[in-house]
Symmetry: C2
Subunit: 481 residues, 2 copies
């Protein structure tokens, strides 16, 4: 009998080409070990609540009331919920046509999109149009939709940073396009050199690839750097010259752990450049409720904002969004609350600020503890996590370790990360899952384990690492290149 | 300057080819009219809560508690929530790792998948494996993922009923495959003749198309018919002979309005056929929390179950699901509650049964009112809605109306539906959005308007229709062919 349509042999080849290491071999092995009863520290994915981060109280109160609107009719509702949560719940329910159980417009509720536009205007100082803002089930879904809209076939190229968050490589594979890498420079704090971009585009062009879009992740994932305004201006100018759509993954914009380079949006820089650049460069910016001090990953809420996209193309994007009918409504409300949080004078303001500041300050301390911890380990060097949620140390694997990995049939950093997992329960993602320069090895871990657990985790990492290096290197060869 | 990547001219052609009439021209016009202050009855999409259906109380209590777990620590929680809702909330929270704000496994929580498997086993009498059940953000997302996995290019064909719910045609366009139509026979109560299927496959093959999968929608959308066991057996045998994956869209399985043909799942029939058919035919079945007496569309919850899909292919489907990280967690809990509702003896059982029966019995009455209403109109004939949520009357347009439509640059049924909308505020979907035989015209409306509003809506429809027919036909030509 011929292979059936859902036998491996006859699947869509693009599906088979997809790689997604964040939930790849390491994650699967960690899940197995967990089933066997081993304690696993899941730092493979930026999933704060899974590692003990508490949700912000106010938004949960509001969404709980929206889920159970009959509570609003109860005269005792004020015993359980503060008055501003009650009025916010009424505010959002009034935007729906039938509560959380009804599909909304496929772009999301107009009222929430207006709140997002107001937020962008306050943040950037330039007006934003709600008609060009679409709510999505998490930022990833938005990224996938836009890439699917752009990519026509394998001769369409997308510039993607290396190392990169593998959503981009996965989606480009799935939609049959070509990933055109540009390298971030580790020794320059994961900086981006526009001359390298030019080279990447030229090289792609020589292979017959038309580069159509460029991805930036700011703050960086997995690399944690924050782009400067000057750098963003260079990038936008480059996009203008090369006629590229810029996809700005800005989901970590609340996660900043230094004061020198606060987050600045690509859109703000673009608007500030004036015509012709500000009128020509097409930009899509992505945001989410999953990151920041919210960390509401499981709710799946996000948005994208479009700049300089003509109405006929917006209509096409709207049409395709319509096929999935509606982003989930509870997460639309989380998005509204995120961009329009309690204000000074509101009953819940103090608590909201206390909770969110507490999370952010602890993340800042954890970023420092982790960087310092890694840098205290043999053959490990690590840039400081300026932003986002990850640490991305370089692991200088001794030649004997690389040989041992080959013998085991593993990529060297996968070999290292598997051993780390078995020894310590720390579940990381090998650098090869994000791309890295030839012969250089990394791992990615989130900075999300609880602050009080961090010293023990870093001790346990150091013990494993230093023994591993000892085993494969002996006493003599300890060197920092 | 060359067109930019997100200018209409240079978009992915497959995106441009997508058509999705459920939110197409009629919906957009209805939204405009609503903005202008006109009262619109949105019967274009199966969105029960938008038309006043109340959510079931118990599941909303449970999910509200899960969103606000701090309520569970409050000694007074019992004043607001029944004990079984409290214990269910604890049951589901214990399945999560960090509550609703944490990503789950990309297939959904193992505990909920186990509850789905138990439900399927109770329903069908055959065991079901939770490892082959994936939770999704609504059924549509699952359908899209599976079609994307199957379709390799335009020479891959998918058999789709005509008329069909346009999710299928839209997804096939988006992923670059070929839709191979098979016609449902209106005069045989929208029955499916396997000889027609053979013809469709032969015709496709003569054009170089390999038919790889077949879609059935049972109960039918937009056509409302319920497939008999004998018919399902024929279909499965045909899939076996032709080596087709069967995609069983069974999202309306709770929506049955007659007693002669209760819902029977494709999987139950398949298992009952015994080997080799039961061991060979690949089947994917889809279900949702959006339909039935739940109608929780805005929550975006669904699942698909895979039968006879080999592990290597399941792994690929898992991998691609992982790129989107996790279906939204609140909707996973709704799914758990739907497949494992209150039981006799539970505190909330009586209320749950009263509410769900009330909705279903009213839908049954509305199905009858609507069919009878349409059949009382001039030049309109309509099969009874045996199941699902739609009425799909045939509108016999007089030649002069067809001419007038051509003059207006509209497809005749679009012309009719636009006039209906302007005259009455009733927002329907033209039959051409679902496919229909050449020269035959329909519209689809949901049966969801509130029961008390139904007489007025049908009167308003009849008045419009009969005047329309009068205008384009005059007194003489009234005939029923």
């Amino acid at each position: 009998m011929a292979p059936r349509a859902l036998d491996y042999e006859s699947l869509n080849e693009n599906v088979k080409k997809v790689q997604y290491a964040v939930r790849g071999e390491l994650y699967l092995r960690a899940s197995e070990l967990q089933k066997e009863g081993k304690k696993i520290i899941f730092t493979n994915v930026g999933n704060p609540h899974a590692l003990g981060q508490k949700p912000l109280t106010f938004p949960r109160q509001v969404v709980a009331l929206c889920q159970a609107p009959f509570l609003l009719d109860d005269p005792n509702v004020g015993l359980f919920f503060p008055a501003d949560a009650i009025s916010k719940a009424k505010h959002y329910l009034a935007m729906t046509i039938g509560g959380l159980g009804a599909y909304t417009d496929s772009r999301g509720m107009p009222g929430v999109r207006k709140e997002v536009a107001d937020f962008i205007e306050r943040r950037d100082g330039y007006p934003s149009d709600p008609e060009l803002i679409f709510l999505t089930d998490g930022a990833s879904k938005g990224v996938m939709q836009i890439l699917n809209t752009i990519i026509r076939g394998e001769s369409d190229g997308i510039l993607v940073p290396v190392p990169q968050y593998p959503l981009y490589s996965a989606a480009i594979s799935l939609f049959g396009g070509s990933l055109v890498p540009y390298f971030l420079e580790e020794t320059a704090n994961w900086g981006l050199d526009v001359n390298d971009l030019r080279q990447s585009v030229a090289q792609a062009r020589s292979k017959g690839i038309t580069v159509r879009a460029m991805v930036i992740i700011n703050p960086g994932n997995p690399t944690g750097q924050c782009l400067s305004e000057a750098n963003l201006r260079e990038i936008l100018h480059f996009c203008y010259q090369e006629n590229l759509v810029l996809l700005g993954d800005e989901v970590y914009q609340q996660n900043i752990y230094q004061d020198e380079r606060p987050f600045i949006s690509a859109r703000k820089v673009l608007m500030g450049m004036g015509p012709p650049v500000s009128k020509e460069v097409q930009l899509i910016s992505f945001h989410t409720v999953s990151k920041g001090y919210w960390g509401e990953c499981g709710q799946r809420g996000g948005y994208f904002e479009m700049t300089n996209i003509p109405p006929k193309a917006v209509d096409e994007i709207y049409k395709v969004a319509s096929v999935s009918l509606s982003p989930n409504v509870p997460a639309q409300i989380f998005m509204g609350l995120m961009v329009n949080p309690p204000k000074p004078g509101d009953i819940s303001y103090e608590q909201f600020i206390r909770e969110s500041k507490g999370i952010l300050e602890s993340l800042r301390r954890r970023a420092r503890m982790m960087t310092d911890g890694f840098n205290s380990c043999r053959n490990v060097i690590c840039n400081f996590t300026e932003g986002a949620m990850y640490s991305f140390p370089q692991i200088r694997l001794p030649p004997k370790a690389i040989d041992a990995a080959k013998m085991a049939g593993k990529v060297p950093d996968v070999f290292y990360c598997l051993k780390l997992l078995e020894a310590t329960g720390i579940s990381t993602v090998p650098g090869s899952g994000f791309g890295q320069k030839e012969g250089v090895f990394h791992l990615r871990t989130t900075i999300l384990p609880a602050e009080e657990d961090m010293p023990e985790i870093m001790d346990s990492f150091k013990k494993f690492n230093d023994e591993f290096m000892e085993q494969y290197e002996g006493h003599g060869g300890y060197s920092r290149l």
